[in-house]
Symmetry: C2
Subunit: 333 residues, 2 copies
């Protein structure tokens, strides 16, 4: 018999996704995956102090700090970005090469494993912040119908919430991929090291509502009730590309996000629109839509602090429509 | 004969300020005093690559990175905040106890010394960013008439520019205090690690205009011309107090800047206005003006990332009027 850990990530995910028709038993809320993203850190700490708030009758909720050392230092990470340490292949050959790799192994054992068809955690909310004006942006695996369903519920409560599908690749290194199902719960703009207050209140409300939805979902499954499912079509974003910064021959920045593009996440980017302003005030760089397939295109993660080192000035998305089947639930937001 | 280095800081400053009636010979523009305040870092790097831009006929301009190790690490500081390492007494008994103390000694020798009545640098622009929505906020020593004069000129060009007087204490530990005259050129909001583009363009323009003003000032002095001086009264802010975060008995945060106070820097804070929202959604903390002397009071540095560790939620200022004598100059902004 082939054990699930020998399966490739795509085949394994197929099994995991099928299991989503069974009730969820454990939900994890994680803050501090990046230690300087303080909305997530303080929301997780708050839930840890008030665990009853996140309990629901039919499942257990565990709140954790993903990278306490990075939280303590108020840094994105100490040695390596832990949110890039969760490839299935890396977790199956655990390396203790640095603080974050060690912590990733511990977490995988504690709430996963990612290589298991039935991990301990059925849903993982991983709380992040960005310096870009994304609002609440739920980043979900493209093949994770249940995560999209939760996203659709939150969008119905708060139309400012957006859903973004992770790229269609065989595996992802993000922490949220350790659960049977999960999402990276991005909120911006928030500066490194700061709590963005309105976004904190909004995130808290949305997370508690998401738990209510999971409870309703569990109850419906226990009653073997599929007749009440509501079929919906929703619009989501699909990440398709990214744009690099203007640099000189030594790799030094010679320009920056154009003031007219700053804070314009999710607003359609039109051909000829300025995207970069040069430090020397010379000609702006204009968006050249002919580089891409025709159709409306939307920038996001504009001026995200952590992406300077990855040389990503902003990302580009398309709108796509997906079908979801939703458990009916009186909204309580 | 008493050497100037034996003088107390206040007496020494009196001598230095008198020297301001002689022409300026050297101006220093410093970026990266805090390594993660990227507007200043990239503006300084840009001037270092294009030195002609900051040269003027009658004086020399030197652009430097204050803390290159912190810039490289994209951190406020490596071991200690260097912008607290420039007390005259500390510089006169140099300590090599950490990276920043060592660097402070090097800088003091290179462009000061602070203990000299005639330091090598006549004016020091120290470029900073804040995560608070301060706009351009020029922080100047309360007794530095020439710095206030430059601020007044910049305010006349761009009415969004504000001048804030440093507290009346015997000495300050800030880098800008090493020059004969100087200012901390604060710009916000900008997230740690990010370039705020509109603010970058504005800062560049203002700095070049400030250099033009210094040139006009030098020319006027060389012509021994005081008859053309324009007498003005300007309104500036005086820092008077700061407000701490709400915390539990363990010192953990239990609340945050109120969403209605976020981004409201420099807007009069009225009695009863909410200043903190609690994580648990319980009663907001309201501003109690009876704790302070009567009169209008203005919050600033609201939600500055670096001030969480100093337990400063925001600062409070009063408006005061000061007299300035200005060299006439055709504005060129």
């Amino acid at each position: 018999m082939e054990t699930s850990s020998q399966l490739d990530p795509v085949a394994l995910r197929k099994i995991r996704r099928t299991n989503c028709n069974s009730p969820l038993k454990q939900v994890v809320i994680a803050g501090g995956t990046h230690g300087n993203e303080r909305n997530g850190v303080y929301l997780a700490k708050y839930f840890m102090k008030h665990p009853k708030l996140v309990q629901r009758p039919s499942f257990k909720t565990v709140t954790i700090l993903t990278n306490p050392a990075a939280v303590k230092a108020n840094l994105r990470y100490v040695e390596e970005d832990i949110n890039r340490c969760f490839y299935q292949k890396d977790l199956m050959q655990p390396s203790n090469s640095n603080l974050e790799r060690k912590r990733a192994s511990v977490l995988d054992a504690q709430i996963g494993p990612k290589s298991g068809s039935v991990p301990k955690t059925d849903f993982l909310f991983d709380l992040h912040n960005t310096t870009a004006a994304t609002g609440v942006a739920l980043m979900v695996p493209y093949d994770d119908k249940f995560a999209i369903e939760i996203g659709a519920y939150l969008t119905s409560l708060d139309p400012s919430v957006r859903i973004i599908l992770w790229s269609n690749v065989p595996d992802w290194p993000m922490f949220a991929s350790v659960g049977r199902s999960g999402m990276t719960f991005e909120v911006g703009p928030a500066s490194w090291g700061c709590i963005a207050p309105a976004e904190f209140i909004q995130s808290k409300r949305l997370l508690l509502s998401a738990l209510d939805y999971i409870e309703a979902h569990n109850q419906r499954i226990k009653q073997s009730n599929t007749s009440t499912l509501i079929k919906k079509k929703i619009e989501v974003f699909q990440n398709v590309h990214y744009v690099k910064y203007p640099r000189d021959e030594n790799g030094d920045l010679i320009g920056m996000i154009h003031p007219k593009l700053q804070w314009q996440d999710w607003k359609e980017l039109k051909d000829g629109q300025p995207i970069f302003a040069m430090f020397d005030g010379s000609n702006d760089t204009l968006f050249d839509s002919s580089k891409y397939e025709p159709g409306a295109i939307y920038p996001f993660f504009i001026n995200e602090a952590a992406y300077y080192e990855k040389d990503i000035a902003f990302m580009l998305a398309r709108k796509v429509t997906v079908d979801v089947n939703m458990t009916p639930l009186q909204s309580k937001i």
